[in-house]
Symmetry: C2
Subunit: 315 residues, 2 copies
Amino acid sequence: MTKNKTAVIALGGNAISPKGEIDTIANQFNNTRKSLSAIMHFLHEGYHLAITHGNGPQVGNALLRVELSIDKAPVLPLGICVADTEGGMGYMIEQSLQNALITDKFDREVVSIITQVVVDTDDPSINNPTKYIGSWYTGDEIKGLTEKFGWQVREVPGKGWRRVVPSPIPRQIINRKAIKHLVDIGIIVIAAGGGGIPVFIMDNGLYEGFDAVIDKDLASAVLARDIEAQELFILTDVDQVAINYGQSNEEKLGTIHVNDLKALFDEGQFPPGNMGPKVQAALNFIEYGGQSVTITSLEMVQKGLFGQKGTIVIP
Amino acid sequence: MTKNKTAVIALGGNAISPKGEIDTIANQFNNTRKSLSAIMHFLHEGYHLAITHGNGPQVGNALLRVELSIDKAPVLPLGICVADTEGGMGYMIEQSLQNALITDKFDREVVSIITQVVVDTDDPSINNPTKYIGSWYTGDEIKGLTEKFGWQVREVPGKGWRRVVPSPIPRQIINRKAIKHLVDIGIIVIAAGGGGIPVFIMDNGLYEGFDAVIDKDLASAVLARDIEAQELFILTDVDQVAINYGQSNEEKLGTIHVNDLKALFDEGQFPPGNMGPKVQAALNFIEYGGQSVTITSLEMVQKGLFGQKGTIVIP
């Protein structure tokens, strides 16, 4: 018997909330439905799957709702907001995928699992938070919020002020055994939404959540390792990773050996706020023993062209 | 090999947000931790477990946050709010239980599964919604909200106005196979939080959510049937079910045959807004083939006294 391949598919934020579109739940459902035709490709190929997804706009909105109801409803810490979006977005993706499966007469189950992710208590980002989250404010507005909620904040000249939180490195998926178990029997598992809920293991051995967010692509690489997937697909809004991005000598990367990609990464080719974490996630997964990482667009997957027109990282 | 018994434990709202207490997340975590000593009883007895929970105050607060941010963040439909609370509350219960297990050196995993529940498209409650949800309003306040959101509303003389939604009868847990699979291998599964997300199966076979809430105890009985549990425990704020409640001839029920309880139910002994759905859930589970339903308080379980001082329904 040929064992089915297992892959983790990381859906970019644009799969659900494309930039420049009015962000209603109806639109989110519509976009999710469209994105899932890409997922169907992998199912037709016989893959076992776990799916991760971003939650940037959704967790920003959740935080905004908490701020606007501060005197009328309990304040939710960021970890609970992330867990909430794993619930609501998991439901949306799950149901959309179930309907795609029903339409294609494909007998596969889908479940969404709330996912806690272990991070180090001494992660350097904890004392130096740099991940922007939530809304933009004027200096006066954010002063009040900082006092009320104990936020750390930063000014971006010309744009205003915004909250910053740590974005620690994910180390292990707490719920990995259950996720692996379900994926191994062919159930499609939606997990580690928004990068998962960051959790410390304290000196007494107990878990404790704290206010931070985890990069979704880095978490996807850890999930792929923890469930022993062979392949990781990072689906984003470009077809391929490029070097010398935006310059006259820009060059798109096709199939590339991990060491060559690492050299380009070390040169500083991939900016932290953009392609950097995706490339880092790819390097990590190959280092963990993964067989391949494909970074490409939903469109290339839908057209079945990512083999030729995506960036594929191999050992 | 003796097969482990499987039970579904339905945690009442008071297990997480007791009435009369300021409803902060810190308090919710504290209460959840206390409630879980009751759950540990079942683990020490070797049970395989699924845990359900209410979400009344939490979903009310979620709806309030949506209202208060109406012009600034996307409006979330009720189904998404329920899914969100399954995420946030699932995380809170899961982590609290994991910590109790770590403390007791008990090697059992816990996961939370977002749960969709099938209801009938012709459920009578859809055209006659009676389940109060969210905040209280004055007549003037609710008029604007009704126009904005298309709510159905009701006045309670002397208390004000409130939104009403359908509370359809749960028919089947969509995610039952995955839940049963995990429970059968000894993983503790938190599922059907808040009664689950109500979903229709449309004429074309596809799933579609709609604005309603499902009674948590009725959903727990369906879950218990769908995962082939032998026992259902409904944990609430009283030790036993009573007949002639609050009258001089009040009588508490101990162990009772399902037919005798059915006769009392048909007499109108159990009011719809209170013990009614719990007794109905008990009658349903025994009718589905369940071996016993215990309705009692967290306290009696913690003390190990529910065998003598709880209401136990048997076939």
